[in-house]
């Protein structure tokens, strides 16, 4: 019995019961090799593609520091803080340098209040205007402004 036929019998719920333990294990091992093999091949190709991507999009001397320095909102801070049940998070969907400073202002205003209360709130509402004003049309405003 060839491997292909064995796999076919394994895949058919009607015939799998007829396989011996050894056959089942053999077929299972083939699936495991095939599966892990393809998984590795797929992810290795992805790795190569992403590595090439980095090379092709390399920017000579743009100072990228501020762009990504503030940790994205959806990641927990790495530092082991003293078990804070909740922490302030600023959900700015389209984070830019300036955006990251706005919450600081608001937080400063809120910090006028004494206790740890400010540590407990999340400013979730500061948003870029990008797609807000007229639905489906905003993206092109810049284009227009630069054209005329």
């Amino acid at each position: 019995m060839g491997i292909s036929e064995l796999l076919a019998q394994l895949a058919d719920p009607a015939t799998i019961k007829t396989l011996s333990f050894a056959d089942r294990m053999l077929a299972g091992l083939v699936v495991t090799f095939l599966g892990m093999g393809i998984t590795f091949i797929a992810l290795v190709i992805l790795q190569i593609v992403i590595t090439l991507l980095a090379r092709f999009t390399a920017q000579p001397s743009r100072q990228p520091a501020p762009t990504s320095q503030p940790a994205p909102a959806s990641q927990p801070a790495p530092a082991p803080q003293p078990a804070p049940a909740v922490r302030p998070v600023v959900d700015t969907p389209v984070a830019t340098t300036d955006d990251d400073e706005i919450p600081a202002v608001i937080s400063a205003v809120l910090a006028m209040y004494p206790t740890r209360a400010t540590g407990d709130i999340v400013i979730r509402n500061i948003r870029k205007i990008d797609s807000t004003p007229a639905w489906g049309k905003a993206g092109i405003v810049d284009q227009m402004n630069s054209r005329f």
């Binding site: 895949a11 333990f21 699936v31 290795v44 980095a54 790495p78 389209v94 990008d130």
Partner: protein
């Protein structure tokens, strides 16, 4: 009058309650307890547990199939089905899991993976858990290949992938598999650390990793497009999951679709989560769940997690040796996904050894790679066994 009353009383749920129902209601309450008091994946376990509860209340018939009639080319519903039946169609037809992935993509920062593409290897290694468990399930003689594949995918540590695959291959096990997957994902901080310590030396755990490079906006935008194309060209059945994950991520990174990103990661994913959780839980009826197979699933599931963890750590160890150091093997365990819990575990275990060690961002790479890896593995299993 008394006869009428007697008849009515016989239609009460309490007079149709079996031991199986009571056990399942107990399990539902236990899951709710774990979710609320112990904090086990509450956003999914609460709906799932409530679905288990509702489906095991006798005569409530929340999963009843509708009766239809076709007359003159028009479909009429003669008797509507139960609410859970309708919600379950979203799982059964494979609609809900990819929509959850849409929202997950909108929430996920793939930056650490782009900055360190080697992470993908660790994300691949952790899928060993899936296939070894598949092998064990096949060997046990209890399961068909379809069932064994669905059980193995628990080791992917990724709820929507597990539900997507098992809804297609073994819908009758959906409830047990979903409950196992989400419970174990919540228990990652308990399952992983002993394995991680066992397989690494003190020196390895103390290795400090250099800071990750900046990732440009261009890379972030091209990444989801390239991943979709590459994965789809190699494993077509993975396209649905990976494609939706990546369009969600594109909404997030492109900077001009904030509205869509916002809805994908809030209103839409929350709505689907409620529907998916309730209806997946509702498949766990007493007769489906109270079987020896469920115990086997629970046991095999935790094995899958353990093997995935070990495989990730061992490959990271190997990479550290081959590539001349600088890779802390603890980040390998994050390859099982369970985002971001597994990455946090790497961070915490590493910091215990060396308090100045910050592995979190390095572990996020294998962590999100594990999501891609599991979807790829699910696609392979689908193409073999559908």
């Amino acid at each position: 009058m008394l006869a009428a009353l007697a008849e009515f009383i016989h239609s009460m749920g309490i007079f149709n309650l079996t031991l199986g129902h009571i056990l399942m209601i107990g399990i539902a309450c236990l899951l709710i307890y774990l979710a609320i008091v112990k904090g086990f994946e509450p956003l999914l376990l609460i709906p799932i547990a409530f679905g288990v509860l509702l489906t095991n209340l006798p005569l409530a018939d929340m999963m009843a199939e509708p009766i239809i009639e076709i007359k003159d080319k028009v479909i009429h519903t003669v008797q509507p089905g139960g609410l859970m039946y309708y919600l379950f169609q979203g799982d059964h037809l494979g609609i809900f899991p990819p929509l959850i992935f849409l929202g997950v993509g909108a929430m996920t920062d793939f930056g650490p993976l782009i900055a360190n593409p080697k992470s993908l290897l660790l994300g691949a290694a952790a899928q060993f858990g899936i296939f070894i468990t598949f092998l064990a399930a096949i060997g046990s003689g209890l399961f068909t290949a379809q069932e064994a594949a669905s059980i193995g995918i628990i080791g992917g540590a990724d709820g929507p992938t597990a539900i997507f695959l098992s809804s297609r291959l073994a819908p009758h096990l959906l409830g047990s598999i979903a409950i196992a997957a989400y419970s174990y994902m919540a228990m990652v901080p308990i399952i992983q650390p002993p394995i991680m310590r066992l397989l690494t030396t003190k020196e390895e755990r103390a290795i400090k990793m250099t800071q990750l490079r900046e990732v440009s906006k261009k890379e972030r935008i091209l990444f989801p497009i390239l991943v979709t194309i590459v994965v789809a060209l190699i494993v077509p059945p993975a396209t649905t999951l990976i494609g939706m994950l990546m369009i969600g991520n594109l909404f997030r990174e492109c900077g001009v679709a904030g509205r869509l990103e916002d809805t994908a990661k809030n209103a839409l994913i929350n709505t689907i989560t409620i529907f998916l959780g309730l209806s997946v839980g509702a498949t766990a009826t007493a007769e489906n769940f109270l079987r020896v197979e469920t115990l086997a699933i629970l046991f095999l599931g935790v094995t899958a997690f353990a093997i995935g963890t070990a495989a990730g750590v061992l490959l990271a160890k190997l990479m550290n040796k081959v590539m001349g150091g600088g890779i802390n093997p603890l980040i390998g365990s994050a390859g099982v996904s369970a985002v971001p819990m597994a990455a946090r575990v790497s961070q915490v275990v590493g910091q215990k050894e060396n308090p100045s060690n910050f592995l979190l961002m390095h572990a996020m790479g294998p962590n999100v790679a594990g999501v891609i890896g599991s979807a790829v593995a699910a696609g392979i299993l689908l193409s073999l066994f559908k």
